[in-house]
């Protein structure tokens, strides 16, 4: 287990403090390495074997020829340093290898050694290195200190996205038997059981029944949570944490109430009982595709007309930006709706058309702010205009609560900070990293709590919700301070007058 650590002291968000470098501060931080039982089912070698160096370089060459992003990003960084103070993990840990360019250079130095004339002739001049065991260990540790949040890519003058480089590095490590346990074990569960949490179908049915009873006891309205219903209009694909954890499950209740109030028939699926797609975190196209195909198969089998995704950040990036590529074309669905849709697009549309009515007094006493999830903010969109991913969640929250305030402008929308737990890092052995990486968000939150009386922070991502539930207490907040957006809708929605 990780050694004890100090929770970072929060500064003033206006000052935008940049820490002095502490080289090596996080050199020891690393997630558990995947064992053969987690590697082999995904088609990766079980352990690191002799000759891995050559294999890794071979795989690097292959990725360079398959991904323009990687090839271009390797060549064009001018080391200007514009990104150096933008990563939440650097701001929270002060480790220079957590500066985006510092992280990317761990990879770039190897690229230069094996793929560029300058690195072959004069490695010292251009900072090129052989791929040794020490370099591999450094890769493993620091490419698992990147949540692939893309904040660096907003500020880099050429849009260099360190997330792409982390994904490539993780894919190379998987291909030589140095995978990460947390991600690969979860992907195994998706293939075997159907979701990240490994909830088997009977447990799922049980949970949903229990929730239906709770809702009815609570509201007197028989709101249903249907699953595997043939011929439903909508297939809802949602992160499995929505079936299980708080505040996620309160969001799921919110979706159910919206569908009920709107009178739209919908269903969950035991086959696609997971919106998340950890194939993205490990940078593996084929895994990402395989996981996505479950959604296609479920939609075909159930004969639905629309697909809607629940609240989850990276899931929405894969769904919005990649699903059409990975599992399309979607010509068998109703062409009047985008495929897929986000539940917030669906709810917002209903609110605008007065298809559902909300009563803000359901959230009396709450002052809300919102945490834009990185993958939603910088890797996807909602609605039909750029930036809809910012306006739509805010519109839904504002319609549901009496008071809403935004955090500091440098920490929201496209400039949002990651929660600190994204990108396949939401595992206990990385707790120190997660707490420190959440500090920039916590600093901005603290300001609105103190100045505006904010009581709750809404999140629209399963990972953000789980991460905040865990780290908020380190900063003196109640763990229940983080709420689902649809939890707010759930509290405000007026049921039962739609017929």
């Amino acid at each position: 287990m990780a050694a004890p650590f100090d929770t970072p002291e929060l500064g003033d968000v206006e000052e935008r403090r940049i820490p002095a470098l502490k080289p090596g501060a996080m050199a020891e931080s690393k997630p558990y390495v995947a064992a053969a039982v987690h590697q082999e089912p995904l088609g990766f070698p079980g352990v690191l074997e002799d000759g891995w160096e050559k294999k890794a370089i071979g795989h690097m060459g292959e990725l360079l020829s398959k991904y323009r992003s990687l090839q271009v990003f390797m060549d064009i960084c001018v080391k200007c340093g514009a990104c150096t103070d933008k990563c939440h993990y650097f701001l929270g840990t002060a480790d220079p290898k957590n500066m985006p360019v510092g992280r990317a250079d761990l990879f770039r130095s190897v690229y230069r050694r094996y793929f560029t004339p300058a690195g072959k002739i004069a490695p010292g001049l251009v900072g090129a290195r052989d791929l040794t065991r020490d370099v591999l260990d450094e890769w493993y540790n620091y490419f698992h200190q990147c949540s692939q949040c893309r904040r660096c890519s907003v500020y880099c003058p050429y849009g260099i996205d360190t997330a792409e480089i982390s994904m490539a590095a993780r894919d190379i490590m998987d291909s030589i038997g140095q995978g990460q346990k947390y991600c690969n074990e979860i992907i195994g569960k998706v293939h075997k059981i159907g979701n990240n949490l490994g909830l088997p179908a009977p447990a799922l049915l049980d949970t949903l029944e229990g929730l239906e009873e709770d809702i009815e006891a609570d509201t007197g309205v028989p709101v249903k949570l249907p699953i595997d219903v043939q011929g439903a209009e909508v297939l809802l694909v949602t992160p499995s944490a929505d079936f299980f954890a708080e505040p996620h499950v309160l969001g799921l209740i919110g979706y159910a109430k919206v569908f009920h109030a709107a009178g739209v028939s919908w269903t969950l699926s035991t086959k696609a009982s997971e919106a998340g797609n950890f194939g993205m975190f490990i940078g593996n196209y084929e895994q990402m595709r395989k996981i996505s195909m479950r959604v296609r198969e479920a939609a075909l089998e159930l004969g639905v007309k629309r697909i809607i995704f629940g609240e989850c950040g990276h899931a929405w990036r894969v769904a919005y930006s990649f699903l059409n590529t990975l599992a399309g074309p979607w010509d068998f669905l109703d062409p009047r709706y985008p495929v897929p849709q986000h539940i917030l697009e669906f709810t917002n549309d209903l609110i605008e058309r007065k298809g559902v009515k909300l009563d803000k007094s359901g959230n009396d006493g709450m002052v809300l702010t919102v945490h834009d999830s990185c993958n939603v903010a910088r890797g996807a969109r909602m609605g039909d205009r750029p930036g809809g991913q910012f306006t739509i969640p805010r519109a839904v929250i504002k319609a549901s609560v009496p008071k809403f305030v935004d955090m500091h402008p440098d920490t929201i929308c496209e400039k949002t900070f990651c929660c600190g737990g994204g990108g396949g890092l939401l595992t206990d052995e990385l707790l120190e990293l997660r707490v420190k990486g959440s500090a920039p968000r916590m600093e901005a939150l603290k300001a609105v709590v103190e100045q505006e009386g904010v009581t709750h922070m809404a999140a629209m991502c399963a990972i953000c919700k789980a991460q905040f539930t865990k780290v908020l207490p380190y900063f003196g907040h109640d763990r229940e301070m983080v709420v689902s957006v649809h939890q707010l809708v759930s509290n405000a929605i007026i049921l039962g007058d739609n017929d």
């Binding site: 940049i18 002095a20 470098l21 360079l64 020829s65 398959k66 991904y67 323009r68 992003s69 090839q71 271009v72 990003f73 060549d75 064009i76 960084c77 001018v78 080391k79 200007c80 340093g81 514009a82 150096t84 103070d85 933008k86 220079p96 500066m99 510092g102 004339p117 300058a118 010292g124 001049l125 890519s153 907003v154 500020y155 880099c156 003058p157 050429y158 849009g159 260099i160 996205d161 792409e164 196209y285 595709r289 919005y320 930006s321 059409n324 590529t325 399309g328 074309p329 985008p338 495929v339 897929p340 910088r378 890797g379 996807a380 969109r381 750029p386 930036g387 991913q389 910012f390 496209e414």
Partner: protein
């Protein structure tokens, strides 16, 4: 002397053109399998062209990131742009109106480059984070550009060279004819350094200039739901599995 420079510039030009051409061809050929524009992103091709133009001309992202750096970058690059345009007169027999118009700006443009480069160099020693990521090649690149700038400015302002002869030499080269190059030390140093810059260009971070336009986070439209984006290798994968 003349022959040496004739050969040097022929070689340097070949390296620059072929090297850069190969790199650009590689960037263009390598597929981008997934839609990864950094959002919010434009929805249309003209929108993307406008985004790229803003990045190339006013360094939009850099402006968001770091104002002092933006100022230094603008000083250097705008100075460079004017200087390079002014230099067109050494290669064109007929000088166009734009080139003629900016001829008077030698001194301000040179000074802007000089100031920008000195500030960029100073950053590399003064700011701890930038010092950490700076390698010898980053310093050398700035020193090389400073060398070119200083020798160029000295010629413009103090020790004039025979500009007409320089022009004759280069227009001659373009016509595959050897005409004498003035043997002024400053000019010789200026041209040696310029040749070095041309030769390292395709192998160095100077690739940022063409690379920006190939960066998928900047040059893609945000239309994944509207249009299916599928690259060749991914399409082959589909045939195999299905």
């Amino acid at each position: 002397m003349t022959i040496f420079f004739a050969i040097l510039f022929t070689v340097a030009t070949l390296v620059l053109v072929v090297g850069l051409g190969l790199k650009i061809a590689r960037y263009a050929r390598t597929p981008a399998p997934l839609k990864i524009p950094t959002t919010p992103a434009p929805l249309t091709a003209p929108g993307v062209a406008f985004r790229l133009a803003r990045e190339a001309v006013v360094f939009e992202s850099l402006f968001k990131a770091n104002k002092p750096l933006w100022i230094f970058a603008a000083l250097f690059h705008f100075g460079l742009a004017v200087v390079l345009l002014r230099h067109v007169r050494y290669f064109e027999t007929q000088v166009g109106p734009v080139i003629a118009l900016i001829q008077p700006f030698a001194v301000p443009a040179g000074l802007a480059m000089l100031a920008g480069l000195l500030a960029l160099l100073a950053r590399r020693f003064v700011i701890e984070r930038v010092r950490y990521i700076t390698g010898p090649s980053d310093i050398l690149m700035l020193v090389l550009l400073l060398g070119i700038t200083v020798t160029g400015m000295m010629m413009t302002n103090h020790v004039h060279t025979d500009v007409v002869a320089v022009k004759a030499f280069f227009t001659g080269l373009l016509a595959f004819e050897l005409r004498p190059l003035p043997a002024d030390p400053l000019l010789i140093v200026h041209l040696l350094l310029v040749a070095a810059l041309m030769i390292v260009f395709p192998f160095s971070k100077l690739l940022h200039a063409p690379g920006l336009f190939f960066s998928p986070t900047r040059n893609q439209t945000d239309t994944p739901r509207e249009r299916r984006h599928l690259c060749d290798w991914a399409a082959k994968l589909e045939e195999k599995v299905n």
